[in-house]
Every structure is written in C-alpha cells, then in structure tokens.
C-alpha cells in the first residue's frame, strides 16, 4: 500500500515548509520513524520521519521546493507498486493552512446599522459606536431614546461594574496618540537601552552660547536644539537607524529629520526639524522656537509634523532619569533624555561632582540589534565627551 509523506505542521503559524535535503534516495528502504528529509520553516529546521516502513518509491518535492502544510512530498510503499499520478494537494480538512496565493477575500460587507438620523447625529456628537446599541424602534431601528439610554448606562459604570465619577471623552488628539502608540508597540519589537554619562561639556558650551544666541536671534537657548544637532550628527554615522521598515525592506532615508516631543494641553505633538544635520545650531534654534510656539498655540501644520526620521523626547524637566520611550512609527528609534543632575562621579581615580544625564534609546529590534543601538549611544556619548568636536558641531559661526 502506497503511503503519502506530507509536509508536517510544526507550529501554529506554520503555513509552508521548504525541502532542504533528502536523507534517502528513491528506491531506498526506510523504516517507520527513520529521518527521511530535512525541512525548513520560517522559524526552524527539522527532520521529517518516515510515517511507515517500506521503500521510498518517489520524491515528489525535490530540494528547494516550497510545499504547503499537508502537501505531499514523497510516497513510500512496496517495490513495484504504482505511485498515483495526480498528487493530492493539501488536505481539505485544514483549508486555513492553504498557501496557494489567492486573491484576498473581500471583507464581509459591513452590517448596516439602522438608526434614525437624529440617533446618528447624537451618536456622532458623543462619539458612540451605534453598532453597540440595541434599537427599540420598528424592526430594531435605533432612535434617539436608545442612544440616550445607552449613554446614561455606559457613563454610570465601567464594564467591570465600577462606579464612574466623570467621563472624559477622548479628544481626537488623544485618540491619534492612543492609536499610534498602540500600533507602534503592536508592530515593532522595541527594546530600550539606557546609559548615564557626564554632560558637563554640554552644560558649559550651552552657558557660553546662551548670551550669544540671545543677542543674535533673541531666543533663549534650550537643550532641545543642542540635542537635535548632536543626534543628527551621530545619525550621519548610523544611517541604518535613520530608516523605516516597509514590506520587508529596510529603507534607509536620505535626509535626517529630527522630531521633538512637545507637551500641549492634554496631549503631545512632535514637530520636525527637517535636515537638522545640514542646518547650523542657530537655524535649528530659530526653527525649534517657531515650532514650539506653533505647537503651544495649536497652529502646527501637517507639514510641520510630517517626515520625521528620528525623535527626541525629554522628560528631564520633570525629574525623570530613565524611561522607555515608545517609537513614533514609521521611525525605528527614539531617544529619551533624562534630567541633568549633579552627582559624584569617578574621574581619573578621584570622586568629582559632575552633571550627568541618562539617555534612553528605544530601537526596533526587527531592524537593528542591541550592539548597533549600543554603538549609537556610545557615539553620542563620545561626541559629548569630545569638547572640540562638540564645539564644532554646535558652532554658531
């Protein structure tokens, strides 16, 4: 009796496997349980054992063939037995696992919620999903009263039955933040690494530049434009971090556009300094100042917040040392800046008082690995330590 050898399912997500190597040749005698071939899935490499004893009559899937789970790779039987001509394709009992490319099934047509215009108007105003409401009108039509009743009910208690003191509707800004942050954590493998370092040089240079910048452009120099300049400089050496992951392609981006998080009423916006690496500190100061003002006044344009390739977020002013920032998609990394704080540090064998800051870098582990991210942080720290290079990058000339 001829027995089919099929592509096994080795994990929940496995849909297909590739034949890497045949351990037996056609005509070889095999015993049940003996390794027959090697397959490779997206995750592992594994041996496939002979399901029965007999002779390997025919290899259907030669090395390199991709076979869907359940697909026939070979036949085992007694010498002289006829091998079926037509190869049975994956067992129909598992239609979900078929990998034959097909036109995507169109999503089922959305069930139309039947509601009066007035019910719809109120639902829209209150941000309610009408499909959650049971209509009391003719044929289940949702009327105003149903919406109001629902509103009263859902606002009085949480789903777990706890009493509600106040309901704060999600603003569209908050909704956008919620969506983007959830999406970010859902699609990326985010890792945060932290490094504390002495930043005395940065403090010193900022103090020197403060009166100069103030005099020239009338703006008080903050650490934000300085950090933007420094990060942009380091990114030049790490193009892989200045990238995005699209359709299984890491696309390294040709411009370095640094976003910086600005807290606004009940939310957060991230205006972007375009091509920060090519701009002087003075230009970055002016742009940051303008973008911050626009952010606070709620006047940022789409243009102002688009095109970022890397983000800096600073919680130092709230006394935070280290944190785990969430990447702003489609970017693949974000730098969190902690507070500048004086601490005893060991320098050249002596304990000195120095200003230190902790940098928290979150990166997308799908695109880069820990050592690249660590090198990036190391380069940033090296730049900060190298006073002459620092002065060159932050030159106001």
């Amino acid at each position: 009796m001829v027995v089919e050898v099929r592509m096994p399912k080795l994990g929940l997500t496995m849909t297909k496997g590739v034949v890497k190597k045949w351990l037996k040749n056609e005509g070889d005698k095999v015993s049940k349980g003996e390794p027959l071939l090697v397959i490779e899935t997206e995750k592992i490499t594994a041996n496939v054992e002979a399901p029965t004893s007999g002779y390997l009559l025919k290899i259907v899937a030669p090395v390199g063939t991709t076979v869907p789970v359940g697909g026939v790779v070979a036949f085992i039987g007694e010498l002289g037995e006829a091998v079926p001509e037509v190869i049975t394709q994956p067992q129909p009992t598992r239609p979900v696992e078929r990998v034959v490319p097909e036109a995507p099934t169109p999503p089922p047509p959305p069930t139309r919620v039947r509601a009066t215009p007035r019910a719809r108007m109120i639902a829209e105003k209150e941000g309610i999903d009408l499909s959650l409401i049971k209509g009391s009108g003719p044929g289940g039509l949702i009327v105003e009263e149903d919406v109001i009743k629902y509103l009263e009910e859902v606002r009085k208690k949480t789903k777990t039955g706890l009493r509600v003191r106040e309901v704060i509707p999600l603003t569209s800004l908050r909704m956008t933040i919620a969506e983007r942050m959830t999406e970010s954590l859902r699609i990326m493998a985010q890792v945060t690494i932290c490094r504390e370092e002495v930043v005395d040089n940065v403090v010193k240079i900022r103090e020197e530049l403060l009166p100069l910048i103030e005099k020239e452009v009338g703006i008080r120099l903050t650490y934000t434009p300085i950090l933007i300049k420094l990060v942009a400089e380091v990114l030049k050496e790490f193009p892989i971090i200045n990238s995005t992951l699209e359709d299984n392609m890491i696309k390294v981006i040709d411009e370095i556009n640094i976003g910086f998080a600005v807290a606004v009423d009940h939310g957060l916006v991230v205006p972007v300094v375009k091509e920060a690496d090519k701009k002087s500190l003075k230009e970055v100061v002016i742009i940051c100042n303008e973008l911050t003002r626009k952010a606070r006044e709620g006047r940022l344009s789409i243009e102002d917040v688009s095109g970022g390739t890397f983000t800096i977020t600073n919680l130092g002013m709230y006394g935070i040392d280290a944190f785990t920032p969430i990447i702003n998609p489609p970017q693949i990394a974000i730098l969190g800046v902690g507070r500048f704080v004086q601490k005893p540090v060991v320098q050249e064998g002596r304990v000195n008082i120095a200003t230190v800051c902790t940098f928290s870098l979150t990166f997308d582990h799908r695109v880069v690995d820990g050592h690249t991210a660590a090198q990036f942080l190391d380069k940033l720290v090296s730049l900060i330590k190298d006073e002459s290079r620092l002065r060159a990058v932050l030159s106001v000339k």
């Binding site: 009066t116 215009p117 007035r118 019910a119 719809r120 009108g137 009327v143 105003e144 009263e145």
Partner: protein
C-alpha cells in the same frame, strides 16, 4: 392694544373690512350676495348700508367677469376685496387669478401693482358634497405670484385680513366654513399680523404638529388628549402658506425630532407633502422618526356624512399618527 372682546371669526372678518373701508376709500368689496344679503356667511353684513353701492358691489353669478373686474380695478389703483363664494368654483375664473393677477406685476417689470384680495371659503364637514367641500389652497400655493393666507382664529383672521388688504400683491384669503362660528379674543382696534410668521399655538417637546385653518383646532384637541398620556405636542400654525415660515417649523423639529403635518387638502402633491419635503431636506439629521402626513385622500369629498367623516382628517387620526412617531407606551 385697547379693548379686547370675545367675538366670532365672522365678526372679526367683518370688523376688519369695516375698519379698512373706513380707513381707505380705495377699498371696495365685490361678489355674489355680498351687498344686500351681507354674504352667505355674513362676513360682509352691514357694509352696503355703511359704504353704499359704489363700494359694495353685488355681482351676477359670473366669477370670470367679476374677479377679472376686481383684478383690473386693482391694476387701476383700487384695493378690491372680492369674494369667490366657494373655492370649488375657481375653475371658471382661474385664468384671471393665476395667469392675470399673479403674473402682471412680474410681466410689466414691476410697473404695476395688483393689490387684490380674493376671499373664499373652504373645507368639508358640512355634508356639502364634492363641489362645495374642498380646500384646494395647495393649487394656489403651487403657482407663483399669489400669497396664500389661511387663518385659524378670529384674532388671526382680523389681523391677517387687514394685512392682506394693505398688501400690494394678489392674495387668496381662505376662510374655513367650520371656523365662522368660532369665538375668540379680538382687539377692537385695527392691527396687522405679518405674513410668513408662524404662530406656536401650543408648546411641546415630543412632536411637532403643523396644521392650518380648521385643522389647527383638531390638532389642539389631539394635543390636549395626548397630554393626558404624557405626550407633549407642539402645534404650529404657519397662518400663511405663501410666504411660508419654514424656519419656525425647522426650529421646532430640531427640538422635537418628529413631525406630523395635518392638511385637509387632498393628499396628492399637497401642502403637507411640501412641508414634509422641506423638513426632510433641511433638517434630516434631526429626525428621530419618519415624517407623517394626516391628509384627505385624493378622492371626491362624499356627500354621505359617514363617508365624509371617514376621509377628513380629525383629532383621532392626528392622535394615531402622533403615537406612531412617538411610540410611547
């Protein structure tokens, strides 16, 4: 506003005519039996005695002739108030009304005014059969150039008739036969009520009921009944179909979310459908129920009192329609 008395609808109209004829010698009255007989419903009673046959003119049964004469007199500078005894008779004189009176000012580039007021009677409920029971104001509202006035109370009747007489354009003034005996407070002094301003006859919050003429009273009757069941009805009387106070109706529907239009005219292509269309078009988003119309089916009005009652709108039918849209237990 000086002295206010309870008088009938007929007396209010009579008083308006008296006062306007006193005020303006250009106001004249014409029609069948308006002089010696004082009008078949008594609206022109005493006018002949007071103002003489030059200003109160009894005409032969010749609507095309005397309505045409009134339109001509208006063009020549008088302010005729001419009576078409029953609106049902308009067929014989319609050219004078809709093609001559209604269009002359437009066709002469505004160089002429036609300040004619055509008074006529409307409505069923008196078992007066198919040719004396119709409403038909929708037909007049349908054509351009005519103002359409439909009072429901003695107070509105007097104020609107005075406004009509003083207005420089052709008006059709519809008097429902069942309203003539209705009593209500009316100031003795002359006063005007602007066209195109609806009157909220009763305030409410659950449903808007729009009605004119006698149907305002049926709507109020229904509203009072429904109030006992906890349904709050807002009754709006537009008072003039042309010009129409759509803002008042829309404002009310925005509040209540529901609309019932009551209209004694034939259902087909009628006033009720027009109001429903405006509301559906302009405040669709505020509707919480389909718009309902309570109208007279498009059939000849039966002579049989039983059958007539069957087809005419009334409080009972209004209550049923309101309950359909309010759906309160």
């Amino acid at each position: 506003m000086g002295e206010v008395r309870e008088i009938t609808f007929v007396e209010a109209l009579n008083e308006a005519l008296m006062q306007e004829m006193e005020r303006d010698p250009n106001v004249i009255v014409m029609g069948e039996d308006v002089g010696v007989y004082g009008g078949i419903f008594g609206v022109t009673k005493g006018l002949l005695q007071k103002f003489g046959p030059d200003r109160v003119i009894d005409t032969p049964i010749s609507e095309a002739g005397f309505i045409g004469a009134a339109v001509g007199a208006a063009a020549a500078g008088l302010r005729p108030v001419v009576e078409l005894m029953f609106v049902d008779f308009f067929g014989v004189c319609m050219d004078q009304i809709y093609n001559q009176a209604a269009k002359m000012r437009y066709m002469f580039g505004g160089k002429i005014k036609i300040p004619v007021t055509i008074r006529t009677t409307i409505g069923g409920g008196l078992s007066a059969a198919a040719q004396h029971s119709q409403v038909l104001y929708s037909i007049f509202a349908h054509v351009p150039g005519l103002k359409v006035v439909v009072p429901s109370t003695p107070y509105d009747a007097k104020g609107l008739l005075i406004t009509a007489i003083r207005d420089d354009n052709p008006k059709i003034f519809f008097e429902h036969k069942l309203l003539y005996g209705v009593r209500g407070p009316v100031p003795k002094e002359p006063y005007t009520i602007p066209f195109g301003v609806a009157d909220v006859k009763m305030e409410g919050s659950d449903v808007t009921v729009v009605a004119v003429a006698y149907m305002v009273h049926e709507a109020l009757k229904a509203a009072n009944e429904l109030k006992k069941e906890g349904i709050s009805v807002e009754v709006i009387d537009p008072r003039t179909l042309v010009p129409f106070d759509k803002e008042a109706v829309i404002k009310s529907v925005k509040k209540t979310g529901r609309l019932v239009v009551v209209d004694e005219d034939y259902d087909r292509c009628g006033f009720a459908s027009w109001v429903a269309a405006i509301v559906a078009d302009e405040c669709f988003g505020y509707l919480d129920a389909p718009i309902k119309r309570v109208t007279t089916p498009t059939v000849p009005i039966p002579f049989s009192p039983v059958l007539e009652k069957e087809i005419l709108p009334n409080a009972e039918k209004i209550i049923k329609a309101v309950k359909e849209v309010v759906r309160k237990a």
